[in-house]
Amino acid sequence: MTDPSVNPDTSTPRRAIDVVNASLKRRYAKERRFRLLGATAVGLGLVFVLLLFADIVGKGYTAFQQTYYRLPVTLSADLVDPEGTRDPRTLARADYMTPIRQSLRQLFPEVKDRRERRQLNSIVSVGAPQLIAEAVIANPDLIGTTSDFWILADDDIDMLVKGYIDRNAPESDRRVDDRVIGWIDRLEDEGRVAKRFNTIFFTHGTSREPELAGIAGALMGSFYTLVLALALSFPIGVGAAIYLEEFAPRNRWTDLIEVNINNLAAVPSIVFGLLGLAVFIGFFGVPRSTPLVAALVLTLMTLPTIIISSRAALKSVPPSIREAALGVGASPLQTQFHHVLPLAMPGMLTGTILGMAQALGETAPLLMIGMIAFIVDVPGGFTDPATVLPVQIFLWADSPERGFVERTSAAIMVLLAFLFLMNLAAVLLRRRFERRW
């Protein structure tokens, strides 16, 4: 160590830089550790997301295919349209099960026993006639002819064909016995069994029969609910945020409101369901199980989120912009709408989309307001009885049939796709509004 008094000019700076260099190594090591930690956290997160996706897709992808038999069905005019009017209503109500059963009997002439026959009939879904009816209504010329139809298989057979039923298990433990397996194998050998794209899943509401259960009802329910919730919560939330942040006087009342909004954001969602049940359904008489009441409840639930994030977005707009606008004589409202809002919009949109994503996945409060009801019809408006995707998933996950297991996973996939689309929309909207200048 040099004595500073001997040569102060050169020694002092060198010593300082030595100290800096010595600490530099430690500082960089610290930074490396921090980066490693961050990368590990992100990596772990990704692994779990991948596991989740692998599990859901692995379980659910088979639901997008459904087993059908190709059977020659004779649609005799006596049975389908005895009066020859070709009136769609008559055609819709006609008995198409009998021709299907006749076709099966012709393919398996050796089945004579009544019990066996009933068993043979049960390999076809109870919904199969409905599909033929739709085809006949679309093309009445089919009446009186024999043609190959794709007949929907029963869910147990579907599971068998998809390999979910262990053929080596003892017969009594199986949902399908050896005789039926024999028939199906024979049909497969004849090339009459095929897995086709499962359109029913996307076009039908739910059903007690897994092979007839679809996501359309819940999807439309979620859609109507979200559209209405967005239309209500975005303007109200943003308006409230602007008022509280920019116009409201700072006093005890606004402090109280602020504290309460923050508290509301932390209230368990089921409480909002109870509130909705008591106020909207009980007091205002809004019909239960409808997207309308669901949207009202979800609006209440997401408002705190939207207000808080919108206020944060407004706070982040530099005050100099407000001063600039006020300085040239813009009114406070013009200042807000011309200058502050455009800058705060990306943040507000992010908050809103987050709130909506939360609303899309919300189940608990909706159970309280009757969204759990078993509704087969696809809703056509805001006041039709409906269910929503997460509730549908909850209901299917609760069903014992093996066919609902894959449908549960498939519904989760649809829900995730919906979420993904919403996030994509958010990103695009942000980019549209975000000006980096």
């Binding site: 912009i321 600039a324 006020l326 040239v328 004589g329 200058h339 000006r435």
Partner: protein, 287 residues
């Protein structure tokens, strides 16, 4: 009542620095803060930020067709005082203004007075350049548009061009009017803000260190502009450059820790300061 106060104030003004009891400790304004035909007149203005007093009983007039410069050490309250003149302090939480500030005889802090048209009449160039995050054109056109000053696009275009020209920015930006105003350099941004302010043709212009980020050439342009604007408007300018104050202003006010220490003809202030603090400041012994 007003005349009485003025009479007393005038007596104080007549005293010389040596006559003032207490010398440096006196905070009473030295010099005559009144003018014959004031555009704006402030009396006993106090400004508090919460419990901290930033301006202490300042009385000051601004005449028509004059440039008044305000000088003083950093933090003495020049910006605060300037911002009172168009009620810009309204936007600051906890900021309280008392006393009277009149524009053409009307109290601008009157409850019935709308600050929006007031700010169109009393324009302001802020200490920190604050262009809108919009295009250069939009920055200048915004004020005239909301006030409906022009009838059509050609008039607006012409107004934007003339404003930018006066601020000495036109040649630099004429090819990129649609580019963001925030993409300009600091000095260009400040000139853009000046163009934005004069585009609404205010009657009084408040400038808070408009040239602090400008090079000598741009400074000369702005000073020329100030000189030109004086023909029609009143201008109050805060500056840290004594040379600038001497060049552009007719009267100068010296602030110190919230007090208005001395005010008078610019020439007198710089050649013959009467208060010890003023003298220390302009001779560079202080601040």
């Amino acid at each position: 009542m007003n005349t009485m106060a003025e009479a007393i104030d005038k007596t104080t003004g007549a005293m010389s620095a040596s006559e003032l009891a207490g010398g440096i400790h006196s905070r009473a304004t030295v010099g005559d803060f009144t003018v014959a035909d004031p555009r704006m007149s402030c009396r006993d203005v106090d400004v508090w930020y919460g419990s901290k007093q930033a301006i202490k009983g300042v009385s000051l007039d601004i005449a028509q067709n004059e440039v008044l410069s305000m000088i003083g050490p950093s933090g003495c309250g020049k910006s605060t005082f300037l911002r009172c003149l168009n009620r810009m302090n309204d936007t600051i939480d906890g900021c309280r203004v008392t006393g009277s500030i009149r524009l053409d005889g009307q109290d601008i802090y009157d409850r019935s007075l709308d600050p929006v048209p007031l700010r169109a009449r009393v324009g302001m160039v802020f200490q920190k350049p604050n262009p809108f995050p919009k295009s250069i054109y939009e920055n200048v056109a915004y004020g005239p548009r909301i006030h409906g000053l022009t009838n059509n696009r050609t008039e607006l275009d012409a107004l934007v061009e003339s404003s930018l020209r006066k601020a000495g920015l036109w040649e630099e930006v004429k090819d990129r009017l649609d580019q963001p105003g925030t993409g300009l350099s600091g000095g260009q941004q400040q000139r853009l803000c000046i163009a934005r302010t004069i585009a609404v043709s205010p009657e009084v212009i408040l400038m808070d260190e408009p040239c602090s980020a400008l090079d000598p050439i741009a400074t000369a342009i702005v000073e020329e502009l100030i000189d030109e604007l004086r023909a029609n408007y009143s201008i109050a300018i805060v500056t840290h450059s004594m040379q600038q104050a001497a060049r552009v202003s007719q009267r100068t006010a010296y602030f110190h820790l919230g007090d208005l220490i001395e005010v008078g003809e610019t020439n007198d202030i710089f050649t013959n300061p009467r208060h010890k603090l003023t003298e220390d400041y302009i001779t560079g012994r202080f601040g």
